[in-house]
Each structure stands twice: as structure tokens, then as C-alpha cells.
């Protein structure tokens, strides 16, 4: 078990958390090791965003979106699923373990699930250890490019 907490990039579709309490928790009370990127729909997530998170030193990437048929924009999450699932396999192929990219598809009754999922993901990442294979960008403070 490492002492520094695992860095997680959380891409969250703004429609997927149905309960206001969950959304408020994600917006205000996220632990410091979780970096929140809010997107209008998972379909907005370009593989580049994920790569930027990975290169910037994220130990894990979590993508939270709506279930199929429940997408606010009808099929944004279907597009995301096809692309991002393949992209995570592709990252695995070049050395960023597939377990480090996790999808959570939330439903109406999944109140409080995002907290549980994040905690489970964090402990899974702790087993894997920090990701170093693709972390190439210097932190912004030491002269790297900004996000």
C-alpha cells in the first residue's frame, strides 16, 4: 500500500447523477486526489482528454455516465462506449493497464453509488500501484504545458 493517495481523473456526465445530494458531493466534497472533469455528456469525452489525464499522471480514470436508453442526448453514451472502451483496450496494448480505466453507468436508483464506486476504484488502484508507464508530462508548476 502506498502512502500517497492514488490520483484519479473523474469524467462525469452532468446528467448521470440523479440525486442532488450525490451531485453536491461530487461538486463540493470530492477528496483532493480526485480531479473532476464535468462534461455535458459522456459522448463529449474525446480520447485525447483521457490521454491528457493519463499523461498528466493520473493513476486511474473513471468515467461516469448514464445507462443506454437513458442518455439525455439519446445516444451520446453509445458513441462514448464504443470509442472509449476501445481506447482503454488500446491504452492497455501500449502499457497502461485496462483496469485503470473504469466505467460506471448510473441509473435512477443508484443513489450514493458514485461514492462507493470511487472508493472501490481507489482501493483497486492501490493494489496496482502508481501508474508510470505513460506519465510523461511535467506538472504545470515545473514548466509543463497547462491543461
Amino acid at each position: 500500500m502506498s502512502t500517497t493517495p492514488m490520483k484519479i481523473a473523474l469524467f462525469q456526465c452532468r446528467w448521470c447523477l440523479y440525486s442532488p445530494e450525490d451531485q453536491a458531493w461530487v461538486d463540493n466534497d470530492l477528496p483532493e486526489n480526485i480531479h473532476l472533469v464535468k462534461v455535458p455528456c459522456t459522448g463529449r469525452i474525446d480520447p485525447l482528454f483521457i490521454l491528457n489525464a493519463v499523461q498528466g499522471g493520473a493513476d486511474g480514470v473513471m468515467i461516469s455516465g448514464c445507462l443506454p436508453e437513458k442518455c439525455h442526448f439519446k445516444e451520446g453514451n453509445l458513441a462514448a462506449r464504443r470509442q472509449l472502451a476501445e481506447f482503454s483496450q488500446f491504452l492497455d496494448y501500449i502499457g497502461y493497464a485496462q483496469d485503470r480505466v473504469r466505467f460506471v453507468w448510473l441509473d435512477l436508483q443508484d443513489r450514493g453509488r458514485i461514492q462507493r464506486e470511487l472508493a472501490a476504484f481507489e482501493s483497486a488502484l492501490e493494489q496496482l500501484g502508481p501508474a508510470q508507464t505513460l506519465a510523461t508530462r511535467a506538472p504545470a508548476a515545473t514548466g509543463g504545458t497547462h491543461d
Partner: protein, 322 residues
Amino acid sequence: MTELETKIRAEAERLLTEHVVDVVIAFRQEDAPLHPQPAFFTRAEELESLTYNGLCANNLANYLTRYPQETRIGMVVRGCENRSVNALLVEKQHIRENLVLLGIPCEGILDWRRIVALTGENVLSVEEKDDSVIVHTHENTFELSRVELLHPSCQRCLHPNPISADVLLGEPKPEGDPTLMRLRIEELEKLTPTERNAWFKHEAERCIRCYACREACPMCYCTECFVDHTEPRWTESGVTPAGMQAWHIIRAFHQTGRCTSCGACERACPMDIQMTYLTDKLNLDMADAYQFEVGMDAETQPPFATLTLDDKNRFIAQGKRS
């Protein structure tokens, strides 16, 4: 002039004199014997310099998107070029009625780097005779085996024959062996993630960001590439590890379901960087998950463009597991 060249020239002459097409895209012999160049013939008199041999390394479909859709184009196509044209037609980059494809069953492209490695740089001329290649240099004459000189992408080629050419010049060749490409990817997949990462970094770190691979690729036709975009800047554009790796990862990923494995990117690379191990992996994934093969017709959309609710089962099964 070979028999095949005569046929191509006659056909191109017919197309130009009868005004069937505005331009014929083929190859021209220039001073450097190892590098025939793409050429754009608009008048029949110019066809004197038309050439075709195993050293014609460009993918001519690359030039399809540089003409307006109204331009009627005659084009010399081999198997991979034909599939690239199909993939471009799927993406509505030209109109099939405005194209005349002169199909050539391909024997594979000779890798000039291998020739130079075996004979030295002073090559005067190259002759192809059946299964051997005769190279004349200032000092010597070499007789080399054709199979050994083939570009790696051509050794793994699946469909050497043009599949939707209007005119087929030459005898069809036997289809390739699909296991060759799979074997290579599976060998890489057998390595540990750290080893695969080392392999990837070893290839990517030589990149000088000249973007020759992008310019040689028929499917890279965006007017503004993601690496040239400055506001916002999506990736580092310098020769830094982050920038080079991002370029290789995202360039390959943009080819998912679009790459025809012609290998033009590798042939264009001045640093001899391997790239097809990335795109081949993505192509195999597409074949396994969606039974999709690029460019086999001019209608089927690639998997990323054909999402349906039928994905639901796959979606949830994978969602539960992860």
C-alpha cells in the same frame, strides 16, 4: 517499358483523349531510380513519363481528397489503394461516378531501404523479373529475391487485388494469409505491459514530428489536425516524450476502422518508425468486436459511426464486469 506499363498507358491515354476524366493520377519516373513519384496527368502527351513498378510506394488514394468532388479522376489503384478509395467514399470525400479506377493486382511494394542496405547507395537502375529483382549499381549487379525485399506491410497483405476497379489490368493474385497480421499483434500482446510500453516508447521516441506519416496517409485529410490546433492546444507539439507519444497514440486511434494497413505511413517515415503495429491492433479489434473490415465496399460505415441500441447488451455486460 513493361507489358503492364503499356496497358496502363494505353488505358490512361484513352481516358484523357476521350475526355472521360480530367486528370489521371499515377506514377512518373524521375531521376532517382528508387523513387518514382506520384504524377498528375492532364494531357495525353504527358503520359510518356508514366511508370509503374514495385518501387511505387505512395498510396495514391491520398490525392483523392485534394480535388473537388466534381473533378473526374482516373486513378491507378492496387488492392490497398482501392480499399482506401472505398473508405474515402464511405466518408463522402468523392463521388464514385466521378472516378475511374484502373486496377492493378499488386505484387507488393519493394522497400527501397532494404535494397540500399543490400546494394549500397549508388543504385543506377532496378529491374524486376518474376521473383527476382536485379539492381545495377555503379560497381556491381545484384540479383535479389523479391520476397525478401517486400515492405513488411506488403508481406502481411490480405487483399492484393483491387476489389471495385473499373478496369482490371493484369492477372489477379492469390489472396494473402490473414494469420500473419494476427500473429504479429498476438506476439506483442503476449508481452507484459511494461515490455509493450518499452516497445512503444522505443518506437515513439525517435519521432521528429515531421508528420510525413500524416501527409502520406489517405485517411488523414482533416484541414486542421489536432496537433496543429493551437487554441486550445490538445497536445504538446514539440519533440517531447509527451508530445511524441500523444501523436502516435492519437494518430493511430483516429484510424480505428479506417486504416487499410497499406503501410504508406511507415514507408514515408524518415526515422524508420514502425506504426502499423498500432493500427493493425485497432483493425483486429474492430474485426473481432464488430466483424468490420475497412474498405471492402463503399457503403458500410465504420463501427464508431454506427452505434445502435443493440450495443446495450455488450454495454451492460462490460459495465458490470468493470
